[in-house]
Symmetry: C2
Subunit: 252 residues, 2 copies
DNA sequence: CGGCAAGTTGAACCGCCTCAATGACGGTGG
DNA sequence: CCACCGTCATTGAGGCGGTTCAACTTGCCG
């Protein structure tokens, strides 16, 4: 896997081995690029008929604004992730997207997705795999909010992010760069920023990890994984083991 | 819409108007039927290579068991809903399915889904719409757990269920039959069954609704909708308004 | 220098949990 | 026919996890 390949290709490579032809087709999806500043809304709530985007550089988030002004962050997007794909067939979206940092996105019109589905069942399966993985993350997030306490929840969140970033070469065993502030993370974890701050202090004092200055540094990865009861298997990052699934998919 | 049509057809009809041919194709998906008793596991956690199911009669649920023995119910399935579609391309599933009541399901092998995608882009779009709608429900569920209090959360849950059941003709303005017990609902809403019981009492005493003996009876629907700040628009139940989306999807 | 965004800490409160017990109901078997 | 059981619903008492409000710090930028 060359480091010059797009994050999207790196990600899909976890699902199946891509041929040079397929890689070229994927790159064709990403020709129309746009650079967008930090903290800009990308897709509005209730907006219809929007396109989807592939995030190439930077971080974004999807969220829902509650009637009382509160905010629930649905998930964060890192390079290689789709934005807005899950609502592209809905007449309205029940959530909005915004950039966190400055980003580079490729706009992917519905027409191009449709074409991919027509000409390459393999790539179609890969795109559907990515959306299934998003669902699996949503489910894990749900379990976070419903059944895990603040400490486990926070540890779990930071470990999942670590796995996702490793896949695209943006994290090491030591840690990773994370441009999210405590308000954003708190709104994702269903906590107040104040309490999240205390939880982060606990994790630091327990010498598990430090989150400071936009940097996550692990001190005791094993201890953290044990605390969070973390098993990233739901992300399905194997060595293209999904290829077996594809066979079932491709054969009629 | 004839009442003899399958719940799955009734549901997809909210997205687009189906031709007789398309209806026939859909019914072909549902030829292999199985009857399963109440409280049986359907798909085990971590199981791979499973098929998907279309639920035709009865209720089911998907859930995740936590390491401490707790349970988070992801969502409930009612007639017309897919089971296991979102994990069909993953090498493992991070959640399990179980029946709530006795059910009738149609087993849909991956091969048949693949065939639908090949021969009918319109039906493919309809299936993808159904999965998008599932995601939208997951997101609303996430907002429930993260940012709504127990009362609003419970009201929201019961109203969403009402909308879903109306679509397939199983609910009226008065209420609906609901075979879920308080333990199941509590595990879905991230509450203890004890607290849910108190919340249901509050809703009853506020003369908003009564949930008793497997029956939800509305006393003040408008008041309930206002309390829950409920807007079911995310379910995308219009009069086949999604058809416009399909046009974009179909045209190259 | 002033001003704003982000992080940090303390104090008081309350929503929801846990533990415990009791009531209502249908099924089953002696 | 009734005693016994399991499941589900209901209620009380007490405790904790996380919230809210408020204050102070730090760093950055104009």
């Amino acid at each position: 896997m060359s480091s010059s390949e797009s994050a999207f290709i790196k990600k899909l490579s976890a699902f199946m081995i891509l041929s040079p032809d397929e890689k070229a087709q994927i790159e064709m999806l990403q020709t129309v690029q746009r650079r967008i500043k930090a903290r800009k809304e990308l897709v509005y709530e209730n907006q219809s008929g929007h396109a989807a985007f592939i995030l190439q550089e930077g971080w974004a988030c999807s969220y829902k604004i509650m009637p009382d002004g509160g905010r629930q962050v649905i998930d964060f997007q890192v390079p290689g992730d789709f934005l807005g794909l899950r609502t592209v067939l809905m007449s309205r979206s029940n959530h909005a997207f915004a950039t966190v940092t400055e980003v580079v996105v490729a706009e992917v019109p519905l027409r191009k997705v449709s074409e991919i589905f027509r000409v390459s069942p393999r790539l179609a399966a890969a795109v559907l795999w990515a959306t299934s993985r998003d669902s699996a993350m949503l489910i894990e997030h749900l379990a976070d909010l419903g059944r895990r306490n603040a400490q486990v929840r926070t540890a779990h969140f930071l470990l999942e992010l670590w796995d996702r970033l490793r896949l695209i070469g943006l994290a090491t065993e030591e840690g990773y760069k994370c441009p999210l502030n405590q308000y954003l993370i708190a709104d994702s974890l269903g906590l107040s920023a104040i309490h999240l701050n205390r939880v982060l202090r606990q994790l630091r004092e327990a010498e598990l990890l430090t989150f400071r200055d936009g940097q996550v540094v692990f001190h005791d990865l094993d201890g953290l994984i044990e605390l969070a009861e973390y098993d990233g298997g739901y992300l399905d990052h194997g060595e293209a083991h999904g290829y077996k699934s594809f066979l079932k998919w491709d054969l009629q």
